[in-house]
């Protein structure tokens, strides 16, 4: 086998310029795919990080039917106190959960005593919320980076439109699920921006204030946001939580809760999927590039060496060995392109990281682009290139091995 490999390598070196050109094409393909996978992966990870760490959390738990009506913030689809407490206990016993935060969400009227407008409010336990979505504080552009009871964080556009500043008093008026209206005065503790910019109508108050406004005899919960210790284990953790909750709450075919990962809650998931699809097509282009390059060069190699193939066959070389010889040439081309492409690609990624390229996303200024390629992605790309090289050389190699020696020897 080693001798076949040696002959294959020498044959490649025999046509240096052609080998170099083909290997260069493969190299360019590998470099392009590596850099694209690394940069798009880094961009995607950062975007997902922003969305989950500044707003959604990794997983959310609601009462069945809540998510379908989430735009209305329905108070009649809240989790009751007993259920919420049991969920809290179960989540507290899970080793893969970093933090969880119960939220009471409702819509209300925001008034500065002169004029009023509508607002969406999240009642939270500040310490638990900031642990579950740690980038939330980075969205607070003015004021204190937390809230206490009697305080409110209001969205920036609303503050601007209503000419409200930090320290001003405002009133929140809301209708509870029985239809009665109640109001409460708050002090503006801070002004915050949405995840993707200054838009959004979400404000934050302490959860006990929210319960007071809604005149709840005992605290109800609209959703529980969950933060995992290891985001890469999202699906297994999600299944674990789901299993635990089903064991606890399922009665026959009825399960009163719904559990979603961030993917089921944010439209950004579709953008992330589009990035994955683009990556898939880029890999497909690499396959086509390698296939055409190697196929072309191997077909030429067979055509140019017909007499040589005839000689080998006449001497008694088994057809299988002739097939292997040409396949090894294709394999060597693939390996060569992968090694050079991998090296150049990793060097480029190193340069990109050393160059400290930054960009802005919402309130996050100067986010550092960390182009990183997963070792598994690297191995996948290498395996694809090498396999495609072998597959591309299969047809020319088969043709060579099936050649009649007498016909091949007559070839001019």
């Amino acid at each position: 086998m080693m001798n076949l490999f040696k002959i294959a390598l020498r044959n490649l070196l025999r046509y240096k310029r052609r080998t170099l050109l083909t290997a260069s094409l493969i190299t360019v393909g590998v470099v392009f795919v590596l850099v694209f996978v690394a940069v798009s992966g880094s961009f995607k990870a950062m975007m997902i990080g922003q969305i989950t760490d500044a707003m959604l959390g990794h997983i959310q738990i609601h009462k069945q039917g809540y998510v379908a009506s989430i735009d209305n913030l329905p108070l009649n689809l809240n989790l009751n106190a007993k259920t919420a407490a049991r969920i809290d206990e179960i989540l507290g016993s899970q080793k893969n959960i970093e933090a969880s935060s119960p939220r009471l969400k409702f819509g209300g009227l925001f008034s500065n005593f002169v004029e009023s407008t509508n607002i969406r409010l999240n009642g939270i336990y500040p310490d638990r919320e900031f642990k579950t979505v740690p980038l939330l504080t980075s969205r607070i552009s003015e004021g204190r980076k937390t809230i206490a009871k009697g305080e409110i964080l209001i969205p920036a556009l609303l503050a601007k439109g209503m000419k409200v500043k930090v320290g001003d008093s405002v009133v929140i008026v809301a209708t509870n699920k029985d239809g009665s209206v109640n109001g409460k005065q708050f002090v503006v503790a801070g002004i915050m921006e949405g995840v993707t910019g200054p838009g959004g109508r979400d404000g934050y108050v302490h959860i006990e204030d929210a319960a007071e406004v809604l005149r709840m005899p005992e605290l109800e919960i609209s959703e529980v946001a969950v933060r995992l210790k290891d985001f890469d284990r999202l699906q297994p953790a999600f299944q674990d939580i789901r299993k635990q909750l089903e064991t606890e709450f399922r009665k026959g075919d009825k399960f009163p809760l719904e559990i979603h990962t961030w993917e089921g809650l944010s439209p950004f998931f579709n953008i992330a999927r589009m990035l994955d699809i683009m990556t898939f097509f880029i890999k497909l282009m690499l396959v086509a590039l390698v296939l055409i390059s190697v196929l072309n060069v191997m077909m030429m190699a067979v055509y140019e060496r017909i007499r040589e193939i005839g000689t080998m066959a006449a001497i008694g070389t088994p057809p299988g060995k002739i097939l292997l010889l040409f396949m090894m040439e294709g394999l060597s081309l693939g390996v060569l392109g992968t090694i050079i492409g991998g090296g150049v690609g990793l060097l480029l990624l190193f340069i990109l990281n050393v160059a400290h390229i930054t960009f802005n996303f919402g309130q996050q200024q100067g986010l550092l682009l960390q182009a990183y390629v997963n070792p598994m992605d690297f191995v996948t790309i290498a395996v694809i290139v090498i396999l495609v090289s072998v597959v591309a050389s299969l047809q020319p190699a088969f043709k060579a091995s099936r050649m009649e020696p007498i016909v091949a020897l007559r070839h001019v």
């Binding site: 001798n3 076949l4 002959i7 020498r10 044959n11 070196l13 025999r14 007499r307 040589e308 005839g310 000689t311 080998m312 066959a313 006449a314 001497i315 008694g316 070389t317 088994p318 057809p319 060995k321 020696p405 007498i406 020897l409």
Partner: protein, 230 residues
Amino acid sequence: MSLVVAEDITKDYRVGEMIVPALRGISFEIEPASFVSFVGPSGSGKTTLLNLIGCLDAPTSGRMTVAGADVGALDRKEGAAFRGANIGFIFQDFNLLPVLTAYENIEYPLLMVQNIPVEERRRRVTALLEAVGMADQAGKRPDQLSGGQKQRVAIARALVTSPKVVLADEPTANLDSKTAHTVVELMKKMRDELQTTFIFSTHDQKLVDEVEILFRLEDGLLASRGNGEG
């Protein structure tokens, strides 16, 4: 027992719609350790006959037996195995593999065809390099060798597997007369030492003068069989 037995061999080629007969009922026998040549004008069927003996082609009718095997009945794999074990080839254009050195070209059939262990390979290749006077050129590639040197390497390659028959199609056609004479002498010496049968096709009168048995072909028929002057 004869090494090569041809029984009423015919070979037709199809050229477009036409059937062109290359051999038209040829029979002969060749004994082991012979030094034989087929001569005749171009198109008389010399190369076709060599291809049939060499198991590179099958007769249209008749039976060609080499070393007891009906070579016309062998399939692709069996044919390759038979050639690798029993037949050596010397080509007019030498046909050395350009990426291999002289040593490696001679070693090739032992390595790629017969899977001989390395020590035995080294022993046989070194002995043949010495025998053909190419020991000092062992590391050179074909493009660094003269025509005569290439043909010496080709002879060594043909003999390295200790074949029963060596077939040489116009082996001196691309050599000057002095080199051709040296090459013929070398082949004769090898025949004497190894008892290998050499079968040529040639136009070269000098080579004709050296052979022991001469078959003259004309228009695909065996015109005569005679003893050469060699």
